[in-house]
Amino acid sequence: MQRRTFLKRLATTSAGLALTSGMGAVPRNAYAKRKKQDFGEIKSLKVECISETSWFDNPTLGKDIKAAGGINTNQYDVTYNEENLGGYAALIEVEALDGKKTKYLLDSGWSNDWMDYVFQKSGVDKMLQNKEIDTMVISHDHIDHYFGIESTLKHQPDIKMYFPSTSMKKSFELLKGADFSSTPGCPKNAHPHTGELIVTKPDQLYKLQDGAAVVFFDAPATLQVRGENVMYFKIKDKGYVTVTGCCHPGILTLINYARRNFKDGKKNYGCYGGLHISPFENWDPKMDDIIAGVKQYDMQKIACNHCTGWIWAEKAVKAGLPIVPGTDKFLSYKKVGTLAKANTSNVYTGNGDTVVF
């Protein structure tokens, strides 16, 4: 393992003489050579989109980040336009094979004002107060997934939490009650976390219950953030479903991780959440590759939203992928995004929508 890690860092050259490299859509060699894990099955999975609107206007956020030095700037050093901020969160309900239901909360958004509003609108605030939510999973410590942590902890500071080991030092401090709000748009937390904290590390599977697990991927992201927790569910007679915050490792990485590491890993039933393809609605031919790549697998429900990008979702629909459309529920929220086409097309799952796998 150490040798391999060392070689990964060295990254390339000198050994091997092959004039052809594998150019397959689906990796085959790696799939065959690993021992497969079995973490059980569930009966069904329901995901409610509490909020997928992390910010309301792309150009405004782009200007804020550019003014601070660009996409590689430390996220705690950017001055954000506070009127523009929203946040991402999803409520997950798992039905076990015996019919017992368990709730999980994925992420806590960004603006406390927005998150308090959507938590109240969806009833998450009451669920937290009544301790109906078993566990919280922080996918990663990006602005729009974690800066609103106070909105969760003020209702239930002792909630059990999965947290990425690669999170920034200030993100750990925020969990303990730090205040960075002197910079506009940066967070504060007056309710330190007191519950069990599981700091997730690479190459480990954290079983939540039979058929549900968290896997940490040490994937790079913007604004100096690294690493993301991904939720895997195995639904009886259907297959695997991933639930993600942003999916920085890439949807095909998640699919292939299941294929390589899980029992029956070739059964990919669906996914929910951000796929981090075109969050600012710009395009690159590599994003066409992702459509071509996903088409190789027989997914039944792709409930993407958030940083997936409206363009990718529309192109994926045209390519025949089973993108789950949204409803008009998001229009009942007090704010909607400025992206006109996305606001009228319902191309993907929006605020207030529910998806059942």
Binding site: R4, F6, K8, R9, L10, A11, T12, T13, S14, A15, G16, L17, A18, T20, S21, M23, G24, A25, V26, P27, N29, A30, N58, P59, G62, K63, I65, K66, G69, G70, I71, N72, P220, T222, Q224, R226, H248, G250, I251, L252, T253, N256, S278, F280, E281, N282, W283, P285, K286, D288, D289, I290, I291, A292, G293, Q296, W310, I311, K315, K341
Partner: protein, 420 residues
Amino acid sequence: MGTQNIRQGWLAERQLAPRWNVWASGLLNLVVLAVTAMVVWWIFFSNGGPLKLYTPLLGFSLVIWVLLVIIWQTEYFDYWPLKRPYLDAAHPLQKGGILTGIALGVYFVFIFGIMFYIIGRYGITYFNWNSLTQYGELGQDVMSTRETTSWAFICLSVPFLWLTTVLMVGGDKTAWPDSLQPGQGLANWLLMGLLSVPLYLVFFHPHIGSMFYPAQVYAAVPPWWKEIAGTNSAEYGLGILFCSVIVIFITLQLWEGRPWNLVKGQPWKFIAVVVGGLLLGFLFFKIQLAVMDYLWDEAYIGGQNEYNYGWRYSHTVTMGNFILVPAIILGTYFGEAFSRLAPWLRGLTMSVLSVILGLLFAWAYYAWAPVLLGVCEGVSHPSENPSAFLVLLIVLLNIHDAFMDKWPGYRLVAPEDLQR
């Protein structure tokens, strides 16, 4: 020093000697290079510095084009408009300052004057980020358009760099040999430019035409290489052409131009450099891809980060540059230490050393650059491209060698002084 020998050029004819022994002179120069690189990086490029040009593509596009201009100045234009008496007599710091100023001036005139302001405003939208923002709609905001335009400049630089290299090595200045400067340089430059444009249109324009929604299919065909490469990205062609350039540069630095200079007469030498350079470059490219398959398992269509075909193609360039930098340092600062070896043994020894040093350099970069240079951590970070720093080093090495006579470790001497 001859002043009438137009074919050789001042760079090839000048004689340098170390001020002290080779190792002391070379090490002093290496320290000067490292300090200069750190200062330049933190002032102009780093996210922690004042100008933050490492976005990363804007910074990469800047250094690659400045490198091209420096090669044109020295190899095509033979330092014109400066005269040989001045080059022979001026202090390296003064000479370096003037020639670097000319290089930056040409860069700004060509890239920002002609490409950005004229062509980008009145011809091709994607060469000007303001035009993209003005005429574009969805997704064309201030942050994305700057990267799109910078990517277009990088794409444009690749055929220019490849043709500049093969014409420099294979052409051997045999075209218009009797012309004086700047006529000779201009003729060679126009020939290179004329051939570069169709290469750019075939290998890179389809990528940029697909960077918008809907794809600009009436102006650019969809990427025709996707079945061959496993990706729509032009990084496939970029990787092969850039690897070819890197291999040819290594032969110049460490093998004294072998095997190309074994081929006599035209057009055979030119053909040998084009075909041989492409074959060696392709081999270098494929070897690296095989190693990546071993380290990370297979890439797959649509994979992200290190599982993405396009990223792996670009990473062959990154790793090639990690090897090229020590190769240039060895050849430029320490080459004389190996002069007693037979040419082939010398080339082999220095090549093996370059690969070992290059891999150590890569390891050190990924381990320490986040602290030392303020870059993001991770080998496959989407906002990270070590080639920006590596090409900056190559630019500084070229300025130090070609413009400043490797001062302070080396000094310019007359041939008769060397023989005393």
